[in-house]
């Protein structure tokens, strides 16, 4: 028998749908810290441009340096700098966590969660400590 005659009437071939992934999968400490490590890396890369601008201004002379200092010293500038500080410490602590993993240590779930929350807590504490130290040295605190 000719296969074509018993095959169902012409139906447009339809590609199978892909089941949802990021749209429905639950955020967990594991995935959230991973994406946070990526995002803080991007923030630090962009922040590095700011660092270059600041150093260039310092090299260019007192007037451009004064302008950049005033931008950084504004409350928006300080807010961005505060965010960069937090990004720096989160990326640093997360990096140390990854170094430990590279030695095949800390892989049981309890350690994964303890080290994860420790990274979050340490970044908050270090950020606040760095700002307290900075503000007290400059006499604002």
């Amino acid at each position: 028998m000719d296969v074509k005659t018993i095959a169902p009437a012409t139906k447009a071939l339809r590609i199978r749908p892909l089941s949802p992934n990021i749209q429905i999968y639950r955020p967990q400490l594991t995935s959230v810290l991973s994406i946070a490590n990526r995002m803080t890396g991007v923030v630090l890369s962009v922040g590095a441009i700011g660092l270059v601008i600041w150093l260039s201004a310092a090299a260019a002379g007192p007037e451009p340096y004064d302008i950049v200092q005033r931008v950084i010293g504004s409350w928006v500038g300080r807010l961005i700098l505060f965010g960069c500080t937090f990004a720096f410490f989160l990326h640093l602590c997360g990096g140390i966590r990854h170094l430990v993993w590279d030695t095949v240590n800390g892989f049981d779930l309890w350690s994964i969660y303890i080290s994860g929350w420790s990274v979050v807590a340490a970044s908050v504490v270090l950020t606040i400590a760095a700002w307290a130290a900075g503000l007290s040295v400059s006499g604002w605190l």
Binding site: P17, L18, S19, Q23, I24, R26, S31, F107, L109
Partner: protein
């Protein structure tokens, strides 16, 4: 907050999904449309709502999300029992895979309330209301909750998951010491349900070339087997920016494994073995 075992269900009620649009990165044929609500069973005193992903390849239309009401007094305690109850009592066209109903076959793996697990070992009482059930994430769907696993099984075959030896076959079995045998503990128990691979964001974005946690755990299971004699060839095959090194130690795999295994650790062991081989 602290999870010490993968069978712990998260009790957090905020941030149940990433703040991305529902159709973020979704191709037109995969967009989920509103489905129908099936009538609640008449005369039931305790019911629970289930939102279930439906896709009928013969209908020519997109996947949809149907709502069912399950009579809890007429149904077993597990999510698989609820699915069977729905198939028997409400809609016989609901398609899903199941076999052993006790967590050893790996057929009924699916995404329940946003995490991957086996329907037969997930309690209905641990599910949110309404409970949401999707097929295993990031797979091409054949029908309803039945994913096409051709690709992941092809990836499994690619690591040659069998004993490869050069030495002549012994008269009896190949012997191992107790210590040598214990090295594959925590790896040989894998049932290939692909909960981990389907929950791995790296596999979502690079699944065409990244082998994924389930297959890499199997790769380590053979690398660490004292009877296997193809260690160098296996490492040569794995040492690749995509096959192995797309693993960024996210560890969704270890969080979700229904057998409590540790694919993340297995992958770290492979990476370490490659570093040590370089000397």
């Amino acid at each position: 907050m602290i999870i010490d075992s993968s069978d712990r269900v998260s009790r957090l009620n905020w941030l149940k999904r990433f703040p991305v649009p529902r159709n973020f990165n979704v191709a037109p044929e995969s967009r989920i449309e509103p489905g129908r609500t099936w009538p609640a069973p008449a005369g039931a005193s305790r019911t629970k709502a289930f939102d279930i992903y439906r896709y009928d390849p013969d209908s020519g239309s997109n996947p949809r999300l149907d709502r069912f009401h399950v009579d809890l007094d007429d149904c077993g305690p597990m999510v698989l029992d609820a699915l069977i109850w729905i198939k028997n009592k409400v809609d016989s066209t609901l398609a899903f895979r199941r076999s052993c109903r006790e967590g050893v076959c790996g057929s009924c793996s699916m995404t329940m309330d946003g995490t991957n697990w086996l329907a037969c070992t997930r309690f209905i009482s641990d599910m949110a209301t309404p409970a949401t059930i999707y097929p295993l994430a990031n797979m091409r769907i054949i029908k309803d909750l039945v994913p096409d696993q051709t690709h992941v099984f092809a990836q499994y075959a690619a690591i040659k998951p069998w004993l490869r030896s050069r030495t002549p076959e012994p008269e009896k079995e190949r012997l191992q010491s107790v210590e040598e045998r214990s090295r594959i503990d925590g790896y040989y128990e894998c049932i290939l349900c692909f909960c981990c691979t389907s929950g791995c964001p790296s596999h979502w974005w690079n699944g065409d070339r990244f082998l994924g946690p389930a297959v890499l755990l199997q790769a380590w299971r053979w690398l660490t087997d004292s009877r296997d004699e193809a260690k160098q060839e296996r490492l040569d095959d794995l040492e690749d920016p995509f096959r192995l090194y797309r693993c960024h130690t996210i560890l969704n795999c270890t969080r979700t494994c229904p057998k409590g295994l540790n694919p993340g650790k297995a992958i770290a062991e492979i990476k370490k073995m490659i570093v040590e081989r370089e000397g």
